[in-house]
């Protein structure tokens, strides 16, 4: 078979493929990763919320940005104030086009004064290079060379402390350290996509398997559980974290303006540093939006269970909702008129609530607003009552501690 016809496997495939009972592979940036390992995803979900979940996140796009002007480039491209960033710090950030519309989002880590690592969901080499014209900066894509694991859950620190050369007790939220696991040099950032205590472990691809084995060994007595991206998808909705191509369309792939979103519309106000010095891409548009207010907002919607139960009871059924996150657009209505849509909805096993990430038009995004969301009950479209809430739905006290 032509090699390019096959989807890529991650450096952990030898392990993950053996553990996968469900053989439920999902595509991620040209790779396949486990959707779930078991036939029911409950245990993987609860590993994130009550134990330690090990997730292969290698397909993330990774770039090394080095040189005299590395900080200048990132300051110009992203919405964060990169000049204020300390060495060993990690920023979550979005980046926009000139109209302030979001292109992608990811993390920037400052490894040294003039050396950064950037992750993104989509290829960003061209965009970075275009913006680096005339700068003294070298951009190298390291997606294939670097493997990445995400260890998420309240027990993640305990597990890492058992196998890392140095303890992680002093590693703060969104900070990074260099250490080793076994004899493998790794870089560990206190980051993740679950809204729980968690870490991401970055290593050379060739050392991927020994690191996996060391973590699984150290975590055995703590219930470490290989976890697929379907369980992570539920957790990230609880954490109020959106996903590219699901909850927003990257602006350079939108057919019409209505498909584009701005960081403010997605609730990223905290990650847009309008007070930072100098020009950055999208600055003027974002300043205008800040002044005039956003016409859309990403909010949470909590479905009223009693109301949902009633819709099902009407046809003689107990309520039924999918056991995992659903990435489907569902109309959200106010008094019979559509005022927005849900882009991801999920049952939250922890909160015991049916929740959704919803995009709402002004003024319907005010917390407490009563709206309805479309649900399908025995092949019929019905509308379940719900209430607008602030994001995140869930934020444990130990996330930042």
């Amino acid at each position: 078979m032509l090699e390019t016809l096959e989807l890529k496997r991650t450096p952990f495939h030898e392990r993950t493929s053996r553990l996968s009972i469900a053989q439920n592979w999902r595509r991620w940036a040209g790779h396949i990763v486990a959707g779930s390992y078991e036939l029911e995803i409950d245990r993987e979900y609860w590993a994130i919320r009550d134990g330690a979940a090990l997730i292969d996140v290698s397909p993330l796009m990774k770039y090394l940005i080095e040189g005299e002007d590395a900080a200048r480039l990132l300051h110009k491209v992203t919405t964060r104030d990169i000049f204020k960033m300390a060495i060993g710090q990690v920023y979550y950030t979005g980046w926009c086009d000139d109209d302030g519309k979001l292109l992608d989002d990811g993390t920037v880590s400052r490894l040294a004064e003039n050396r950064f690592r950037m992750t993104s969901a989509e290829p960003s080499l061209r965009w970075l290079s275009m913006n680096a014209v005339g700068m003294d900066v070298k951009i190298t894509e390291v997606t294939e060379q670097m493997a990445a694991l995400s260890l998420q859950g309240p027990k993640s620190r305990t597990v890492l402390n058992r196998c890392c050369a140095e303890p992680l007790d002093t590693l703060k939220y969104f900070r990074l350290m260099e250490t080793s696991i076994g004899n493998v040099p790794v870089s560990i950032s206190r980051t993740g996509y679950t809204g729980d205590l968690g870490y991401e472990i970055w290593m050379e691809a060739e050392h991927a398997l020994p690191v996996w084995d060391a973590l699984m060994g150290a975590g055995n007595d703590y219930g470490i559980t290989p976890c697929g991206i379907l369980a992570m998808d539920m957790a990230r909705v609880e954490a109020g974290l959106f996903m590219i191509d699901v909850d927003y369309t990257r602006s350079n792939h939108a057919w019409i303006a209505g498909q584009q979103s701005t960081p403010f519309e997605l609730g990223l106000d905290w990650a847009v540093s309008l007070d930072k010095k100098g020009y950055f891409v999208g600055r003027r548009a974002l300043e205008r939006e800040k002044r005039d207010g956003s016409s859309w907002k990403l909010m949470g919607l909590e479905i009223d269970w009693v109301g949902l139960e009633r819709l099902f009871a009407d046809v003689g059924l107990p309520p039924h909702i999918p056991a995992m996150a659903v990435r489907a657009s569902l109309p959200v209505m106010y008094e019979g008129q559509q005022v927005g849509y849900a882009s991801t909805s999920t049952w939250s096993p922890l909160l015991k609530k049916y929740i959704a990430l919803v995009h709402l038009q002004r003024p319907y995004y005010a917390p407490g607003t009563s709206l309805t969301m479309e649900v399908t009950v025995e092949h019929h479209r019905r509308h379940a009552p719900g209430k607008v809430v602030k994001l995140p739905f869930y934020e444990p006290s130990w996330k930042r501690k």
Binding site: L39, E40, D42, R43, W46, R49, D50, G51, K155, D221, Y222, G223, W305, V306, P318, P319, H320, I321, W347, P349, L350, L351, K352, K353
Partner: protein
Amino acid sequence: MAANHYDAIVIGAGHNGLIAGAYLARAGKKVVILERREMVGGAAVTEEIFPGYRFTEFSYVVSLLRPEIIRELELPRHGLKILPLPSTVTPMDNGDYLAAWADHDQTRREIYRHSPRDAEAYDEYNLVMARAAKAIKPVLGLVPPDPSSMSPRDLLGLLKLGQYAKSLSEKELYRIAKLVTQSSADLLNEWFEFGPLKGTKSASGIIGTFLGPHSPGTAYVLLHHYMGEIDGAFRAWGFAKDGNGGVTTAIASSARALGAEIRTGAAVSQVIVKGGRAAGVALENGDELRAKVVLSAADPKRSFLQFVESKHFPDDFVQQIRNFRVRGSSGKVNIALSELPEFTCLPGESPLHRGAISISPSIDYIERAYDEAKYGQFSKNPYIDMFIPSMIDRDMAPPGHHVMSCFVQYAPYDIEGGWDDQKRDAFGEAVISTIERYAPNIRRAIVGKQVITPKDIERIAGITGGNIFHGELLLHQLFFLRPAPQWADFRTPLPGYYFGASGAHPGGGVMGAAGKLSAQEVLADWK
């Protein structure tokens, strides 16, 4: 309002008492919940019996906790986490096993291995039982109307019930009539042929009763355990984080947040009666607390025969309560382990270690275990429902070590000659040697062991007779007959005195319905 003056006093901080107190506080009442022990939880407690090993001492899973209670009292916000308990395995005497998984295809393939016919029947059986449970379920949420009463309220209730019964098809009504009268053995023999499957299924029909699988009425108890299935989408079935103590801790936290006061070490000696009404309680330490309303979440015997002088009740009521059957029939063995029990049928660590492990090789095995109990002995070869909480929640035992919870039936309260330390040891030994037959390393792995007889349940949790449901789930003790005819609506013959625990409708399990419904009735009467 002066100190020690309340709107309502709740006796007992088990899950029902806490729930009743929380709902009363939620309605703005000044509430105190009194608990005899130094800790809250009643029979839903988690205790560190050996350093580092935490036992969910009496009750051990969450299956029927009402979703509306979880929602209305915001229990997830107060720390309730219900972790999945994904499988059941029955080790067999020939070294094989029978497993049931959360996944339908896996279970079907597993049963097919033993009986292709049963594998097919299994699907239909589950649907039939779930539908029957769904048909009965609305009744659980109702305050039972008194069929002999002509009061508008009861008539309305009966009307609702009648309308409801009319909504069922004739076939469904017959099926339900059969289910509530039949034995679980008869029911299962109609469906299945494979012994270990029938044994394991029949076991849920005898839990908490003093009956064997061949006794009529056990099919209903089996059905009772299917109620959880209907709320499947709500996923309230499993093992609570921190054990069942985690459930009551969350309810207590919610009750406090709603303004209820909880006093531990506050044993009630007497309900104070003034002018023919309950007016407060006297504590064993001599303190007196006043309130407009007293709600007892203790068992029926203590609520009506101990806390209140009989002269305040009609004689026939007292007689009914005296006759209420509360014979405990089960015990519990909690074991601290240095390693996992290795089952001969499942070498090494298996995913089945994360679920229930049932010693129930056949219906006859369980019936024989019952035979011994009938004549005042504990079963030498008992039915055991085990699981290993530390495989689900790693905080239950030190790293690498485990705790195992073994629910054991039968252990009669009225054992011949009475329970003593020697008999308790012998009972524990019978349990260990039964397990040993299937998991030979068990004895070597034991770090510590707690053996609980019905007498101990009575002594520690304060449940008369040591019955886990405060009274058996027998047809003549259910619905408008629970705890006594005419008094199933959470009121009692003593005005101002209410009753809301497992001995009331709709019965036991960590369900909470009685606590919630009784609080509702208190509020409905509030003037």
